[in-house]
C-alpha cells in the first residue's frame, strides 16, 4: 500500500497570535512556524503502518511557499520516503488545496491519503472531505484509531456524542485527530539521512488548477477582550459573589 500524507506549515501552536494593525491579517514575520499539529499524527500513523509491514511507500506533500518544504523535510526525517512540494504563493483556500491534491493523487495513485483534521491557522476543517469528494473516495474524518485490514480500514472517529466506528474501502481519505497516536521526534541521524531524500518541486501553474481565492478577507481584527476579573480570597467569598453579584447560582 502507498500512503500520501498532506502536511501544512502554520504558525506554531505556542505562539501568541498578534493581529496586524491595518486589519490585513496576523503577524507572520519572525514568527516560529511548524507543521500543523494533527499532520504530525498523520505522518506518524503512516510510518507505523509501514513499520508493521502494511505499507510500502510514504510520500509527504505540502502546498505552499518555498519555506513550506520544511514540513516535508520533517516528515522525511521521521520516516516518509519521498516528498513533493507544490509551490504557490499567497493565501490558498482548502478548495484549491484539495484540487491540487487531486491532481497529485491522480498521478501518484496512492491507496490512502492521510491528513490532519483541521489546520490551526484557518481552522477550516475542510480539505480532507473536499479531496474525498473530488476523488469520489470514502472519507473517515477525525480518526482516533485506525486498523488496516485487507482492502479496507476500520476507523474510530471522534464525534460530539462519543465515538463512532466505520469501515471504509481503500482507496480512502483519513483525517487525523491528535489522539490518534504520539508523534515521535526525529533522531539526529535520521534528520541527516532525510537531507538526502528527494523532494520533487511542482509549480502550481503546471497542474492547471485555478487557485484564485473565492473568499475575500475583508478585515481581520482582535476579538473583544474580556474585562479583568478579580481574585477571591476563599470559597465562601466565591459562592457569595456567584450568588449575589453574578447571580448565576
Amino acid at each position: 500500500m502507498k500512503i500520501l500524507v498532506a502536511v501544512k506549515r502554520v504558525i506554531d501552536y505556542n505562539v501568541q497570535i498578534r493581529v496586524k494593525e491595518d486589519g490585513s491579517g496576523v503577524v507572520t514575520d519572525n514568527v516560529k512556524m511548524s507543521t500543523n499539529p494533527p499532520d504530525d499524527n498523520a505522518v506518524e500513523e503512516a510510518v507505523k503502518i509501514k513499520e508493521a509491514g502494511k505499507a510500502t511507500e510514504i510520500v509527504a506533500i505540502t502546498v505552499g511557499e518555498e519555506k513550506a518544504q520544511e514540513t516535508v523535510r520533517k516528515a522525511l526525517a521521521v520516516g516518509a520516503d519521498r516528498g513533493i512540494h507544490v509551490k504557490v504563493d499567497g493565501i490558498i483556500e482548502p478548495l484549491a488545496v484539495s484540487k491540487i491534491l487531486q491532481k497529485v493523487v491522480e498521478k501518484e495513485k496512492p491507496d490512502l491519503v492521510f491528513m490532519g483534521k483541521q489546520a490551526i491557522d484557518d481552522d477550516c476543517n475542510q480539505t480532507g472531505q473536499m479531496l474525498a469528494a473530488l476523488l469520489n473516495w470514502p472519507q473517515a474524518t477525525f480518526a482516533s484509531r485506525i486498523e488496516v485490514k485487507e482492502k479496507s480500514l476500520e476507523v474510530t472517529r471522534e464525534v460530539d456524542e462519543g465515538l463512532e466506528t466505520i469501515e471504509v474501502n481503500v482507496p480512502a481519505i483519513v483525517t487525523c485527530d491528535l489522539r490518534l497516536n504520539e508523534p515521535r521526534y526525529a533522531s539526529l541521524p535520521n534528520i541527516m539521512k532525510a537531507k538526502k531524500k528527494q523532494i520533487e518541486q511542482i509549480n502550481v501553474s503546471d497542474l492547471g488548477v485555478d487557485t484564485n481565492p473565492r473568499i475575500e478577507q475583508i478585515k481581520v481584527e482582535e476579538p473583544p477582550k474580556r474585562k479583568a476579573g478579580i481574585k477571591v480570597a476563599n470559597v465562601e467569598e466565591l459562592v457569595q459573589k456567584l450568588k449575589n453579584e453574578a447571580k448565576v447560582i
Binding site: P94, D123, R157, E164, E167, V168, I215, E216, G229, L238
Partner: protein, 317 residues
C-alpha cells in the same frame, strides 16, 4: 434566493443545535427550507415544521440514511442543491464532516464556523483558535456555510406550520460501512447547551478524582467538561473535551478546575458569561479570562465549594 438548512437529528428527535442554526440561516435569508435526511424521521420533520422561521420541510426518508454516513447524505443534498443560493448546517462534528464534501461537489469555497451574519454573503468567523476574527465575503454563486451554534440563540420551536414535502433518496455508497456508535448516555444537561459547565483538567490527577467535579455538577445541574489533557490522560471520555479541537460552550457559568488555560482550551469557553477558575498556580493563564479566580488546591477547594453550596437555600436550575 433561498436557504437550505441540513437538520441534525437521531431519527427521533431534533438535535438542539439545529434550532440555533435555524436562527442563523433565517438571518441569511427569510426563505428558509430545512432538509431532513433519515429513516422513519417523521417526528423530526414534524417538529421542524413547527418552527415559525421555517417555510418548508423537505424529507428524504430511506433505510440508507439509518446511520449518518457523509457520502450518502452528500448525494441527497446535492439532489436538492439547484434551487438554493445557500446550503448551511451546524459547525459540529455532524456538519464539519458533511459540508465540505457538499461544497467541493458544488465547486464552492466553504465558509466555516461563522459567528455572525453580516449580510447574505459576508460573515464573521474566528481564526487562529479565536485569537482573531475575520470578516469574509464569499464570491461563489452558491454558498456553503457552517454555523457555530453557540453564537446564535435557538429559534422558537412552536407556532409555525410549514408544509412537509417528500423527496427521493439518492444512490447509496458501497465503500463506507457503518460499524458502531459508542454514545455516552447521561442524565446531565448536554455540554453544548448547559447553563452551567464544570470542567476538570490535568490537575484532577485521575479519573477517580472527577467524582469531586461530578458532585459539584450534580448540585448545580451542570454539564461536565474537560481539557484535552484530561481526556488524553484517560480521566474522562472525548465527548467532554472543550476547546479548539473539541466543543465550544457558552454557558452562563463556566468553572475551570485544575486547567491552566492554554489558548486551545480558551477557544472553547472564553465567551462564557461568567468564568470561575480554581487553580493552585496564581500565574496560570486561565486567571486572565476568569471573572472570579480562586488560587487554591482543588482537593481542598472542591469539597468546601460543595459544602458552601449545600448551605444555600436555593440554587438556580
Amino acid at each position: 434566493m433561498s436557504v437550505l438548512l441540513i437538520a441534525e437529528h437521531n431519527n427521533k428527535e431534533v438535535k438542539p443545535f439545529t434550532y440555533n442554526a435555524i436562527t442563523a440561516a433565517s438571518q441569511i435569508d427569510q426563505d428558509l427550507h430545512v432538509l431532513v435526511i433519515g429513516l422513519n424521521a417523521d417526528e423530526v420533520a414534524k417538529s421542524i415544521s413547527q418552527v415559525p422561521n421555517v417555510k418548508k420541510v423537505i424529507q428524504v426518508d430511506n433505510e440508507i440514511y439509518a446511520n449518518y454516513i457523509a457520502e450518502n447524505f452528500t448525494t441527497a443534498i446535492i439532489k436538492q442543491a439547484d434551487k438554493y443560493s445557500h446550503i448551511v448546517c451546524s459547525a459540529n462534528t455532524f456538519g464539519k464532516n458533511l459540508m465540505p464534501r457538499v461544497a467541493a461537489l458544488l465547486d464552492t469555497s466553504q465558509v466555516s464556523d461563522i459567528i455572525k451574519v453580516i449580510s447574505s454573503d459576508t460573515f464573521l468567523r474566528p481564526i487562529y483558535a479565536g485569537n482573531a476574527f475575520a470578516t469574509v465575503k464569499s464570491n461563489d454563486p452558491k454558498k456553503c456555510v457552517t454555523i457555530r451554534p453557540t453564537s446564535f440563540d435557538p429559534a422558537p420551536t412552536t407556532g409555525g406550520s410549514a408544509e412537509i414535502v417528500k423527496a427521493d433518496a439518492a444512490d447509496k455508497t458501497e465503500t463506507t460501512q457503518f460499524v458502531k456508535r459508542e454514545e455516552i448516555k447521561s442524565d446531565r444537561p448536554e455540554l453544548g447547551t448547559a447553563r452551567v459547565v464544570v470542567s476538570g483538567g490535568r490537575g484532577m490527577q485521575s479519573g477517580e478524582n472527577f467524582k469531586l467535579i461530578q458532585q459539584v455538577a450534580d448540585k448545580l445541574n451542570a454539564a461536565i467538561g474537560a481539557s484535552r489533557a484530561a481526556v488524553d490522560a484517560g480521566y474522562i471520555t472525548n465527548d467532554h473535551q472543550v476547546g479548539q479541537t473539541g466543543k465550544v460552550v457558552v454557558p452562563d457559568l463556566y468553572i475551570a478546575v485544575g486547567i491552566s488555560g492554554a489558548i486551545q482550551h480558551l477557544a472553547g469557553m472564553k465567551e462564557s458569561k461568567v468564568i470561575v477558575a480554581i487553580n493552585k498556580d496564581g500565574e496560570a493563564p486561565i486567571f486572565s479570562v476568569a471573572d472570579y479566580g480562586l488560587e487554591a488546591d482543588l482537593f481542598e477547594a472542591l469539597p468546601q465549594f460543595l459544602s458552601e453550596l449545600n448551605k444555600l437555600n436555593t440554587i438556580q436550575k
